[in-house]
Amino acid sequence: MSDSPSDPSASVRRDSALMSRIGAGDVAAFQEVMAGNGRRLLRLAYGIVGRLDEAEDIVQEAMLGLWQAAPEWQARATAAAYLRTLVTRKAIDVLRRRKKQAGEAVWDTLRDPGKSPEEQLAASQDRDLVQYHLGLLPERQRAALALSHFEQLSHQEAAEVLDMKVEAFASLLARARRSLRHSVEQADTHKEFRKTGKEIEGYE
């Protein structure tokens, strides 16, 4: 199931029919929604929380939320948009809870298969750096980046998910990108220091 940008109301109507079937206990209709959204939702949740086990739990809760909501479904949005919003908000909640418990960012180790550690280091330096700093961003900034960059949503769509104005979303996203840009800039500065012997002593 994918949104049709040309006619969103048609998608809403089509999903409304699907939701009526789910509301009546039609498992096949539910499977249809799962097949159309499962992978994307997992990626979104994983992109925000950085842990696959938590991402699975978040998507499971959201899908069950859809199942529960189906009998009372109001045809205002597509099932995909509803699920995206649920997943994003649940993922932000998970990050907030985690921050209270541990106070630090956690990301699964993501490796490139088929590359030696040296090759991986060279090829993925920026990626590792950005991924590390992504884990340090405040939860709403992470969500903004995931929605905009991983989900490829427009500012308008992403702002609706986070329940904020478009201008506020643009500022949130700008802060997130600026932080990542500064992390790259600082890493370059540190590399420059490392090039000269005296600075290495001073720096390290």
Binding site: G47, P71, V130, Q131, F150, H155, A174, R181
Partner: protein, 150 residues
């Protein structure tokens, strides 16, 4: 703040809001100004290069997420877990579905209507009408005497 630094700040903000791909900027006039600034302004060019590295790195992170997801079998696991939970609830939901309940209500209404119509046709109360007993029960339970009938 003079006009020049104001314009640069605006371009910086656009760069951070919309990314380093100028073709995706909603304001193409600003995008054209950014292209010019990239050629003439060393500071902006440096920021643009960093922004490109960040965007490329984010693309890389997205690819890693996809790869990890595909390897992990998370989608199948999730599907199995959800189906196990939902299938158990679906029978109950089907039984109490609005369609079935409305059909049941309609059947009850028809039955009541038939009952009222039958009482209008028959002059005797139902308990004293042997024809109705015969119709409904298939036999007639005649009273043994006059007193026991009531």
């Amino acid at each position: 703040m003079n006009d020049s630094s104001g314009a640069t700040d605006r371009l910086d903000h656009m760069l951070d809001s919309h990314g380093s791909d100028f073709s995706r900027w909603p304001d193409q006039t600003a995008a054209a100004a950014a292209r010019r600034a990239a050629l003439s302004d060393h500071g902006f060019r440096q920021k643009l290069n960093q922004a490109r590295r960040v965007d490329a790195a984010l693309d890389g992170v997205a690819q890693r997420l996809d790869l990890r997801l595909a390897e992990s079998g998370a989608e199948m696991r999730l599907r199995d877990r959800l189906l196990a939970q939902v299938t158990a609830q679906s029978e109950e939901r089907r039984f109490f579905s609005p369609v079935l309940l409305s059909r049941f209500a309609a059947a009850m209404l028809v039955a009541c209507g038939l009952g009222v119509a039958a009482s209008r046709i028959s002059p005797l109360p139902a308990s004293l009408d042997p024809q109705r007993d015969e119709l409904a029960l298939g036999f007639v339970d005649l009273p043994l005497d006059e007193n026991s009938a009531i």
